[in-house]
């Protein structure tokens, strides 16, 4: 099987994720879409590692997973806090950083 297919899958997953971030309002769903985009890039990294015969790509994939894990911890905590205080998980309602 051609390695290219993995790349197509990765691109497809990334596009779905990106579209989800842009379209969905629920913070949890947006968050999951971001995870989807991260994992899409992980797939691409691993594929490229395989294609180039180098271990660097796999290394980056681990980095990404660690960062994603941290992000989940912080991000979910923020979302939960916002939900508690505002009774809403919509990202459009949380626009406090506007001047």
């Amino acid at each position: 099987m051609s390695l290219d297919n993995y790349l197509y899958l990765s691109a497809l997953l990334f596009t779905i994720g990106a579209a989800g971030v842009l379209i969905r309002r629920n913070a949890i769903v947006v968050f999951m879409c971001i995870e989807l985009m991260l994992n899409a890039s992980n797939l691409a990294f691993v594929t490229f590692a395989r294609m180039n015969g180098s271990i660097d790509g796999q290394l980056f994939a681990f980095f990404t997973m660690v960062v994603a894990a941290c992000e989940v911890v912080v991000g979910l905590a923020i979302i939960v806090t916002i939900y508690r205080s505002r009774r809403s998980a919509s990202v459009d309602d949380a626009r406090l950083l506007k001047l």
């Binding site: 971030v21 842009l22 990202v91 001047l99």
Partner: protein, 637 residues
């Protein structure tokens, strides 16, 4: 070559020290302040006399003495020492300043006895004496400058002594600013002297001129700059406007500063710089023109004034015009200018003190229309003032006759059309002087009583009359003594190198006796007109009549001097100031603030992109990413 004297510094130091003590002292000094001040002035006079007799004991060519004190300024080859110089010219001034000064101190003890600030008044008088002595004792133009502005400061302080009255404070400021215009001239003169001769001392400049170091243009510029300085200080045309207002000061101040001493500093400056004017013909001509104009200018104003002090001030202006005119007439003129300066110092100071005495008895009234018939009530004042009057109009054998006659004589001798013009001006001036001084005499001491209801004229106390008597004696005798065998001219000869014997042999336009006759005729005409207008039986209205010719009105407005200054300098200056204030606010600071507000505007425009919608940020991120990718794709094609 010159001897030295260790005493010169005390001339300045004693009154300066006294002034400092009086200014810094507490109220406890109030009781003795006037005595300390008078003693300081007297001590300076004694030192001056000692120096004078010491000087007479030396041979004429060795009479100048110096006293180097310390190095004042030294930068590169600009080297000015604080050195004092006393020669025949300065000793005349030293004796005049300290002598008349002491008399006026004594007079002021009584005159100012009711003023609670009398101690401060004496401090200022002492400060003036010190500064004026520095002016005449400095051996360089820069040392002279210190005294020059020092007397200006003292004059400012004394004119504004009662500065709680806004008009008086304004008069003081006006005097200082007019003097400052003159000071620009002195500054420039020092600079020119330094650049041309590498020295600013009198001897250095004199040597430089003699060695021909400077071009005639430079010398004429130097002369013109010095003349500007003299014009400011001596209230000559066109900087004469301050003198009349300066009468706001207490009368002893007018007598000392604005009649006898400070205003004659211009004559001193020109005489001291004779070596420049002797070779700068254009500048010398300017001196003559200024003197001639002012002579008539002051005399004309004098005719129209009802304020006794302002009439005397106008007369001072006119008499100094005579002196300046004389200094412009070459080597023979300086000594005659000096002679007139000294005699004028006696009789004009005496008359001012007399005017002060009249005011003292008349509740500080200055309007002569409210005087009249005072001769019976103030006999001493009347006699001393009258002697001064005879001296100023030039009746022989009083002082003014000798000194003014000589000036008329040399004016006529100036040669050609110049001689005739100058001679006529001086004669005309003599006639007008006789007229307005007779007017002052008649309105004040003769005629009917026109007093205010609460006036109770009385003779002034002895402390005031004694100085007046002494000055009157001077007015009688000074001219005669000075002229005895030309001793005054010969005394000054080593300074001016004006070979008087040569002058005697020179062909006169008219014989001296004819000149005297002409002058006396002019005086007689002036006096007669005055008697005809203001003499016995003529009524003098209490308010100046309004239905007079336009010329009288102009003369009453000081020949429009203030209107002219306002129109030419003050108004445009104010407009310029206002315009610059707007420029500063709107243009320069506007540009700066413009940059600031431009930054803010841009920022508030850009700020609109920050909507707060997370998803729109995400969209921008993706658009950016796609954009970058697209660019890369296009570039790699």
């Amino acid at each position: 070559m010159n001897g030295t004297s260790q005493m010169l510094v005390y001339l300045i130091a004693i009154p300066l020290f006294s002034a400092t003590v009086l200014l810094l002292g507490s109220r406890a000094l109030d009781k003795v302040g006037h005595i300390i001040g008078t003693l300081a002035s007297t001590a300076a006079f004694v030192v001056g006399l000692l120096e004078f007799f010491a000087m007479l004991g030396r041979a004429p060519e060795n009479r100048a003495v110096t006293q180097p004190l310390f190095t004042w300024i030294e930068v590169g080859n600009f080297n000015v020492g604080a050195t004092l110089l006393l020669d025949q010219l300065s000793i005349c001034f030293v004796l005049l300043i300290t002598g008349v000064g002491t008399l006026i101190h004594i007079y002021s003890i009584a005159y100012m006895s009711h003023d609670k600030d009398r101690r401060r008044f004496f401090a200022f008088l002492n400060l003036f004496i010190a500064a004026m002595l520095l002016l005449v004792l400095g051996d360089s133009y820069l040392s002279l400058y210190v005294g020059w502005e020092g007397v200006g400061l003292a004059s400012y302080l004394l004119i504004g002594f009662w500065n709680q009255k806004p008009a008086y404070a304004t008069a003081a400021k006006k005097a200082f600013v007019a003097n400052r215009v003159g000071d620009v001239g002195l500054s420039l003169a020092v600079m020119i002297a330094f650049v041309q001769f590498g020295s600013v001392s009198f001897s250095g400049v004199a040597e430089g001129v003699e060695a021909g170091k400077a071009s005639s243009l430079a010398l004429n510029c130097l002369g013109a700059a010095l003349l500007l300085a003299a014009v400011g200080k001596s209230a000559q045309f066109p900087l004469q406007a301050w003198l009349g207002d300066a009468m706001a000061g207490p009368t002893p101040v007018s007598a000392l500063i604005h009649a006898a001493t400070m205003v004659t500093a211009g004559v001193y400056l020109i005489s001291r710089s004779h070596f420049v004017f002797d070779v700068a013909s254009v500048a010398q001509l300017l001196v003559v023109i200024v003197g001639a104009i002012t002579l008539l200018f002051g005399a004309i104003i004098g005719m129209a004034k009802d304020d006794i002090k302002k009439a005397l001030a106008a007369s001072t202006m006119s008499q100094i015009g005579y002196m300046i005119l004389a200094t412009g007439l070459g080597p023979v003129g300086y000594a005659f200018a000096m002679m007139h300066l000294l005699t004028h110092g006696f009789f004009k100071a005496g008359m001012f003190l007399g005017a002060g005495s009249v005011m003292h008895g008349m509740n500080d009234e200055v309007d002569m229309r409210k005087y009249g018939a005072l001769r019976k009530y103030m006999p001493v004042t009347f006699i001393t003032f009258g002697l001064g009057y005879l001296a100023i109009i030039g009746v022989p054998p009083f002082a003014g006759f000798y000194s003014k006659d000589k000036i008329i004589e040399i004016a006529l001798d100036a040669g050609g059309a110049k001689g005739i013009i100058l001679g006529s001006i001086t004669l005309l001036g003599a006639a007008i002087t006789a007229f307005y001084m007779s007017r002052v005499m008649l309105m004040t001491f003769f005629g009917s009583k026109r007093w205010e209801a609460d006036a109770h004229p009385h003779e002034s106390p002895a402390l005031m009359t004694i100085p007046m008597v002494i000055l009157a004696i001077g007015s009688i005798s000074a001219g005669f003594i000075f002229n005895l065998g030309d001793r005054f001219i010969n005394f000054l000869n080593p300074v001016f190198h004006s070979d008087h014997s040569g002058h005697g042999e020179k062909e006169h336009l008219l014989p001296p006796i004819v000149v005297s006759a002409l002058a006396l005729t002019a005086v007689a005409i002036g006096v007669s007109i005055a008697i005809a207008k203001y003499g016995r039986g003529k009524s003098i209205p209490a308010v100046a009549p309004a239905d007079v010719s336009v010329w009288t009105k102009v003369a009453r407005r000081d020949l429009l001097q203030d209107d002219l200054n306002e129109a030419l300098f003050m108004r445009p200056g104010q407009e310029l100031t206002k315009a610059l204030a707007i420029v500063d606010e709107k243009v320069i600071d506007g540009a700066v603030r413009g940059v600031g507000s431009l930054t803010l505007d841009v920022a508030s425009g850009v700020r609109r992109t920050q909507t707060g919608f997370v998803r729109s940020y995400a969209l921008w991120v993706i658009v950016g990413a796609v954009g970058i990718l697209a660019t890369i794709a296009v570039m790699s094609l």
